[in-house]
C-alpha cells in the first residue's frame, strides 16, 4: 500500500514538472507536427503499405524523443535525493506509468494528424486505435528502461537508438503485421499475436523492475 502511494507521488511529481516546464511537452508536439508535415510535403497519398510502415517508424522516433528525457532530465543531485527516500522499484514503476500515459497521448495525436494529412486508408478504426495505443505502450516501456541506461552512461538520446532498435524490431514487426489487417474488411486481427505483444510488455516490465536497482547504485 505504501509503495502504491510512493508511485502515485512520483507520478504526480513528473506531471507537475511537465506542467511547469511546458517547453518539453510543446517540443514533442511540434516534433510530431513538423515530421508529419514534412512527410505530407514529400508524399501526399501513400499506399496502405507505405502508410503503415511510415506510421510505425514515426511512432518509433516520437517515442525516443518523448521518453528520452525521462531519466536524462534528472540531475545527479536529484537522483541522489530520490535514492535516499524511495525504493528503486517504485521509482522505475512510476517512470514506466508516466511515460506510458505520455506516449499513449502522443500516439493518439500522431494518429489523428497522420490520417488528417496523409489520407485515411483505415477500414476498422476502433481496432486500429487499440493497436496504436498498445504499440505506443510497448515502445514507451522499452525506451523508458533504455533511457535509464543512457542516463547512467551519461549519454544522449543517440545511444538510446543504438541500444533500442535491435530490441524493438520484433515488436514493431508484430505490430505492423497486425496493423496490415485493418486496411481491408476481410482479415481479422490474430488474438495470439496480440497476446504475444502483451506478454513481451510484461516481460519488459519485469526486467525493468529486476534490473533497475543495479543501475541505480552509484
Amino acid at each position: 500500500m505504501k509503495s502504491v502511494q510512493h508511485i502515485y507521488t512520483l507520478i504526480k511529481k513528473d506531471l507537475l514538472l511537465e506542467v511547469r516546464q511546458q517547453y518539453s511537452f510543446y517540443g514533442i508536439l511540434l516534433y510530431i507536427m513538423a515530421t508529419i508535415f514534412v512527410l505530407y510535403m514529400t508524399i501526399q497519398e501513400p499506399e496502405t503499405k507505405v502508410w503503415n510502415g511510415l506510421f510505425w517508424v514515426i511512432q518509433l522516433f516520437i517515442c525516443i524523443n518523448a521518453v528520452a528525457k525521462s531519466f536524462l532530465q534528472e540531475t545527479r543531485g536529484r537522483m541522489l535525493y530520490f535514492y535516499s527516500i524511495v525504493n528503486p522499484r517504485d521509482f522505475v514503476l512510476a517512470k514506466l506509468v508516466f511515460n506510458s500515459v505520455l506516449m499513449l497521448l502522443m500516439s493518439f495525436l500522431s494518429l489523428f494528424l497522420f490520417s488528417l494529412f496523409l489520407g485515411n486508408p483505415i477500414k476498422k478504426l476502433p481496432q486500429f486505435i487499440g493497436l496504436v495505443l498498445l504499440g505506443g505502450w510497448s515502445l514507451s516501456l522499452v525506451f523508458t528502461f533504455l533511457s535509464a541506461i543512457a542516463a547512467k552512461a551519461q549519454q544522449n538520446a543517440a545511444i538510446m537508438a543504438i541500444l533500442g532498435f535491435p530490441i524493438i524490431i520484433p515488436q514493431l514487426m508484430l505490430l505492423m503485421q497486425l496493423a496490415n489487417t485493418v486496411f481491408s474488411d476481410k482479415t481479422a486481427i490474430a488474438a495470439s499475436t496480440l497476446l504475444l505483444i502483451v506478454m513481451l510488455d510484461v516481460l519488459v516490465i519485469m526486467l525493468a523492475v529486476i534490473l533497475f536497482p543495479f543501475l541505480w547504485k552509484e
Binding site: L174, L200, L211
Partner: protein
C-alpha cells in the same frame, strides 16, 4: 598443462571435422549436392555463437550478484568471440547461399534484398546488433565499475529480449531455411543421414570448445594487461 584435456579434445574434434567432413558419403540432395558439407561449418558457427552469448549472459548475471571484476571481463570477452562466430556464420552462409538460393539470372547484389528478409538472417542480425551496441555502450563509459554494472544490465536486458524475438520472427516470415516453423531443424533426428550426424555433433562441440578457448585466452590477456596497469 593446466586443465588442458578439453583443449586437446577441441583440436582432435576439429581435425576430425575437417577430414571426415570432406571425405564421408553424403546424401545427394538435388539442390544441395556437395554443398551440404557446409553444414559442419556454417550451422556450427551459429551454435557456437549462441552458446558464447549464453555464457556472456550468465557471466553478466554473476557479475551483478557477486561484483567480482573478473566476471565482467569474461562477459565482455565471450560477447566479443560470439560476434566473431556470428560474422563467420554469415560468411559461410553467404558462400552456401551463393550456390543454392541465388537466382542464377541475377547478380548476387540484385538478389540480396529478397534473401535478406530471411527470418534466421534477421534473428542473427538482431543478435549481432545487440552485442555491437553492447560494445559501444561499454566504450562510452570511462569509470570502470560503472562500465561493468551498466553494461551487465544491458547485456541481461537485451539477451532476455533476444530469445523471444528468435522464436517470434520465424512465425512472421516465410523461410528458405529447412525446418521453418516446425521447431529446430538441427536437432531433428529424422533429418540428415546417420553418417552426417556422426560428424555434425562432434563438429558443434569442437567449434564451441575452440570459441571458449579463444575467449579464455583473451580473458587472461586482459587480466595481465590490467595487472600491468596497476603497477
Amino acid at each position: 598443462m593446466h586443465k588442458s584435456w578439453w583443449k586437446i579434445l577441441a583440436v582432435v574434434l576439429l581435425v576430425y571435422t575437417f577430414i571426415a567432413g570432406i571425405l564421408i558419403e553424403v546424401p545427394r540432395n538435388p539442390q544441395l549436392q556437395e554443398t551440404i558439407r557446409n553444414l559442419f561449418f556454417h550451422v556450427c558457427m551459429w551454435f557456437g555463437m549462441m552458446i558464447l552469448f549464453i555464457i556472456s549472459f550468465v557471466q553478466a548475471i554473476t557479475y551483478l550478484r557477486t561484483g567480482k571484476h573478473i566476471h565482467d571481463i569474461a562477459s565482455r570477452q565471450y560477447a566479443g568471440v560470439g560476434i566473431l562466430f556470428g560474422l563467420l556464420g554469415y560468411i559461410t552462409g553467404a558462400i552456401w547461399m551463393s550456390y543454392t538460393w541465388i537466382d542464377s539470372n541475377k547478380s548476387f547484389y540484385d538478389s540480396f534484398d529478397s534473401i535478406a528478409r530471411e527470418p534466421k538472417l534477421i534473428g542473427a542480425a538482431i543478435a549481432l546488433l545487440i552485442y555491437a551496441a553492447y560494445l559501444v555502450l561499454r566504450d562510452s563509459i570511462t569509470d570502470m565499475d560503472k562500465k561493468a554494472r551498466i553494461s551487465a544490465v544491458y547485456n541481461i536486458f537485451a539477451f532476455a529480449m533476444l530469445f523471444p524475438s528468435i522464436w517470434i520472427i520465424p512465425r512472421l516470415l516465410p523461410s528458405l531455411h529447412p525446418g521453418g516453423s516446425e521447431g529446430n531443424p538441427a536437432l531433428d533426428f529424422k533429418d540428415a543421414s546417420m553418417n552426417m550426424r556422426l560428424v555434425f555433433y562432434p563438429a558443434i562441440a569442437g567449434w564451441t570448445l575452440i570459441g571458449v578457448w579463444i575467449a579464455t585466452l583473451k580473458i587472461r590477456l586482459k587480466l595481465i594487461n590490467e595487472q600491468r596497469l596497476m603497477q
